[in-house]
């Protein structure tokens, strides 16, 4: 297996985004991203602040993965989706607690924390945000 895949620091340094949806907001144009960027992709400003992004949003587009990469085969079929958070931030996430045929564009979803990539029986369990259909 590829060493990059099991890198502990590579996951650890992303924890603010993966655990808490900490992203960036441009102080000049208001554009928000996950993860935060050093340069605003919209206006080019370097004046970026860290913010907690909203934990709810809706599915904009999605795909059902049957042919998974190594390390994700146990989860197939699973759904990955483009999600627009309540403040308009677009992120890419796996969906959970949902059957592929239940997913719809426009579906309201909320963030949960789940196991995402597990490095075998002895390695790191990498947890991160996933989204599920809202409970209420």
């Amino acid at each position: 297996m590829w060493a990059y895949w099991q890198s502990v620091p590579a996951h650890w340094r992303e924890l603010p985004a993966r655990y808490r949806l900490e992203g960036g907001k441009c102080r000049d144009c208001g554009h928000t991203t996950l993860p935060d960027e050093m340069v605003c992709p919209v206006c080019g400003s370097k004046n970026i602040e860290r913010i907690n992004l909203p934990r709810r949003g809706k599915v904009v587009n999605y795909s059902v993965i049957w042919n998974a990469p190594r390390g994700y085969e146990y989860y197939t079929p699973y759904v990955v989706a483009l999600i627009e958070l309540e403040d308009g931030t677009r992120i890419f996430s796996q969906l959970t607690d949902v059957h592929p045929d239940e997913v719809r564009e426009g579906m309201e979803v909320e963030m949960v924390l789940r196991k995402t990539r597990v490095s075998g029986e002895s390695g790191l369990i990498a947890y991160s945000y996933k989204f599920r259909p809202v409970m209420d």
């Binding site: 789940r114 196991k115 075998g120 947890y127």
Partner: protein, 361 residues
């Protein structure tokens, strides 16, 4: 045990995975007739953790719900203890992950954190520790969680009950609480009724020996001692919640202690979701708090194999009704369900091993 400074429950929250398997289906998986076991177990279905769920993810959602009810910023938490017997890592504290995911202790992460293990009473053990810290004035707010993805060996009687779920409690000073914890008391002996050796996947148990000398003896002792300390009797409580390894034991122990079934039923959740081990009594307590009224009294007695019991005398305070609706209730999670068959259950519980299974566990 009574704290110098009055403490209570500031917020509570539960989480139960959405997947269920019917006991009938579990029996079918082993070619058995569920009708022969139904009366002895009294659990019709149990919760099953999803393929990407474990004690940490359960503890996280329960804690988020507790914070919502507490109307408290996670940064103010100064203690995070997780009681469980299904730690994601044998060595690496679940609390560390929970602290970071919640942002407990503020940006400096100035908080204590640890995992507790005492079979099914690790959650109440965690709660006692936080009570001590708040009660002594060392901290203002702390979080105690009891959560498990319980193990029961395939084909074993425990497979009918070993479930997944958990509850989280934010403990703080009485003036910020919606329920006051007046006293707590524990009773512990060396009674080897159930254990899991290092590196084993499934626990071993002693069948009938888990009953009288273990479950009943410890719960009854702790409950009676606490009531004696408080000068109360069963008639002084509106609800009694006991550890619920199945649907039958808590009713029997409650009756033996003199509680009427109407005081036991609101906190009896195992028949619908199974035994969430470290979460069991605490999920039951959450269900009671979800509907409790100011002035009501609750007796909670957990039980952990090995063995011991923690008993709590709780008085519901003003303001509880304001926070009950701030997060999903226990019964919301209980009724949010979808059934899986034995094959899916086996896959979700990772009882099936794949070739080159790199995503194992």
């Amino acid at each position: 045990m009574r704290a110098d400074r009055k403490v209570g429950i500031v917020g509570w929250g539960v989480y139960v995975p959405k997947w269920r398997i019917k006991s009938e289906e579990l029996a079918r998986g082993w070619g058995r007739d569920w009708n022969r076991y139904a009366a002895g177990i009294m659990v019709e279905e149990k919760s099953v953790p999803g393929i990407d769920e474990d004690t940490f993810t359960i503890a996280y959602e329960a804690s988020v719900n507790a914070l919502k009810r507490a109307r408290l910023d996670a940064s103010l938490l100064r203690a995070v203890y997780v009681g469980t017997e299904s730690k994601p890592y044998a060595v690496k504290t679940t609390a560390t992950m929970l602290i970071d995911a919640l942002g407990a202790g503020g940006n400096g992460r100035l908080t204590t954190g640890a995992d507790y293990e005492f079979a099914c009473k690790a959650g109440t053990e965690a709660m006692q520790s936080v009570i001590g810290l708040v009660g002594s004035g060392m901290i203002e707010y702390g979080l105690a969680v009891g959560a498990d993805t319980a193990q029961g060996a395939p084909g074993d009687a425990l497979e009918y009950t070993a479930a997944a779920g958990g509850a989280a409690y934010i403990i703080g000073p009485a003036e910020r609480s919606v329920a006051i914890i007046e006293a707590s008391l524990s009773h512990v002996t060396d009674t080897p009724d159930f254990w899991r050796r290092q590196h084993e996947r499934y626990p071993a148990h002693t069948r009938a020996f888990t009953g009288e000398p273990a479950y009943f003896k410890h719960i009854v002792t702790a409950a009676r001692e606490l009531m004696s300390l408080m000068g109360t009797g069963p008639e002084d409580y509106d609800y009694a919640v006991f550890h619920q390894p199945n649907g039958k034991y808590p009713l029997r122990v409650g009756t033996r202690l003199g509680f009427t079934p109407d005081k036991l039923k609101p906190g009896l959740i195992t028949p619908y979701i199974g035994n969430t081990y470290s979460g069991s009594a605490l999920v039951g307590l959450a269900a009671v708090l979800d509907q409790a009224k100011p002035g009501q009294r609750i007796l909670v007695v957990s039980f952990g194999s090995g063995a011991g019991s923690d008993a709590f005398h709780i008085e519901v305070g003003d303001g509880i009704e304001e926070v009950q609706g701030l997060a999903p209730k226990t019964l919301d999670y209980v009724s949010r369900k979808e059934y899986v068959d034995y094959t899916t259950y086996a896959r979700y519980r990772r009882m099936i091993r794949m070739l080159h299974d790199f995503s194992a566990y």
